[in-house]
Amino acid sequence: MFHLELLTVGLIQGAMYAMMALGLTLIYGLLRILHIAHAALFTLGAYAGVLAANAGLGLLPAAIVAVAIGGIAGPLVYVAIYRPLLDKPPYVALIASIGLLIALEDGFRLVFGPYGLSFDNNPWFITGWMIGGIYLNAVQAAIAVTAILSIAAFTWFARRTRAGVAWRATVTDPAMARTFGVEPDRVRIMSFAIASMLAAVAGVLIGLLNNLVEPTMGSIIAYKGLAIIVLGGLGNVPGTLVAALLLGVAESFGQTYLDQVLDRDAIAFLVLIVVLMVRPQGLFGKAG
């Protein structure tokens, strides 16, 4: 029973990682950029959510506000920071991205204070059910449902819509996509919007789960997200989702059984380094 509970907690954590990592891998697939500042949009979403909710909106409208703000801020980051750096060596965008994350985190601290904000009214936090002997609160359920819905919506978008086909064509061969009338820049802006909306909703949900939104809530996820997309085989969407769930479970078991030796947040990197030494292309990456 105890192990079942660890598994459930791990899978829910993994679902949250999946929402973050999906955006990261989208952007990597398209631009070959390790978008560390993705976590700043996660934190921005969480702040937007907590401020909107505390201003009197319900939780659902507040989440929608957060998603909208994420959807605007993400493309702005692309246009202001990444677009001018596309023809530079990859480390240039990486360093700019790290710089942006650090600056924005410090910005959140200066604007909203170092101790973070809580939801005045967080009914989901206190509502819960016993399911098969495991206690699950409404936020955890919401994370699982949101992750499944958003990943399903993304799959539908990529497979069935015109914009999705344009996106896949641009990932496979940007030059060829352009000759068929796809504007790569518009595809990139759209990808940043989608990825950032996912990050924002993940931020709101984690804010609800901990009932706390703080300036550095994204930093560990920023770096773990990178570990996940590398494990999944950079740019590989299904691989990334599996790696996210595996990591969530590995952490929840590791936290119980490895606590004497290793910090929880280091487990991701232990797994990462071990896997990379055996399979340098990641768990699900193509060889070569």
């Binding site: 650090i102 985190e105 910005g107 380094i273 030494m277």
Partner: protein, 277 residues
């Protein structure tokens, strides 16, 4: 000299040595490392443990450098397996693993760290030692740049595949860069531990790695003079402008973004362009 100024010169020297040693790995040899603080921390922890148990400073100094170099060798081996983005993430992982491991080790003091590290000499002596380390590192970099080793590094940094097909033993060059760079960072860690006399895991976290990287890129990745300038400026900036101390990370982060957007060659690159005009 005023004690504050003296300790400031020591910290400037430590940061210059760290930035120069990272420049050897990332600037000269093109291997972006996001985990330099792990090697800095290894030097600090190994030497602190030894000094606390009564080993003479000279021995712990050398041991700290060697231990960091050994860890650097292992990470260098990783750089033979994974490249570019994968390597950057791996080195970042090494840093998180280092902090996550040290934090849980009772014999390394856990969260509280190691206290009461004996000071081997006066502050003036430590300052001299720190600046000798800087001079030695800078000299090493200049010597490397002028040698066949430096030519090999440049080739690898510019095009690893081409270097391999020209018959260069790329692996050996990378390992050499990692071992030398990390050993120097370890020695900087030894000096830090014996000046501060107290070390905690967070002093060697990822943010520190990023600060070192910021010094390198603001100064100009690959340039010796630029990196020294970058390290001095970024260390003094929060000290000179007290108000800036509260905004330290905001300024570091914004500078990293601005430099990448305006002049990816950093200050050195900007000077060069001015002179070319």
């Amino acid at each position: 000299m005023d004690a504050y100024i003296l300790s400031l010169t020591i910290f400037v020297a430590i940061n210059v040595a760290l930035a120069l040693s990272l420049n050897l790995i990332s600037g000269f040899c093109g291997q972006i490392s996001l985990g330099h603080a792990a090697f800095y921390g290894t030097g600090a922890y190994v030497s602190a443990i030894l000094s606390v148990s009564g080993v003479p400073f000279a021995v712990s100094f050398v041991a700290g450098g060697i231990a960091a170099g050994i860890l650097g060798f292992l990470v260098g081996l990783a750089s033979l397996r994974v490249r570019e983005d994968f390597l950057a993430i791996t080195t970042m992982g090494v840093n998180f693993l280092f902090v996550g491991f040290v934090r849980k080790q009772g014999w390394l003091g856990g969260e509280i760290g190691i206290t009461a590290i004996p000071k081997p000499m006066s502050d003036a002596g430590m300052a001299t030692l720190a600046w000798i380390l800087v001079a030695a590192t800078a000299f090493l970099l200049v010597a490397i740049r002028r040698s066949w080793l430096g030519t090999g590094f440049t080739m690898i940094a510019q095009d690893e595949q081409a270097a391999t097909s020209l018959g260069l033993n790329v692996g050996r060059f990378k390992l050499a860069a990692f071992v030398m760079g990390t050993a120097a960072a370890g020695m900087a860690g030894v000096i830090y531990a014996h000046v501060a006399q107290l070390i905690v895991p967070d002093a060697f976290g990822f943010v520190v790695s990023i600060s070192i990287l910021a010094m390198v890129v603001v100064g100009g990745i690959g340039s010796i003079f630029g990196v020294i300038l970058g390290a001095v400026l970024l260390t003094l900036l929060p000290e000179l402008a007290r108000f800036a101390n509260d905004y330290k990370l905001l300024i570091f982060g914004a500078l990293m973004v601005a430099v990448m957007l305006i002049s990816p060659g950093g200050l050195a690159g900007a000077f060069q362009r001015l002179r070319a005009r």
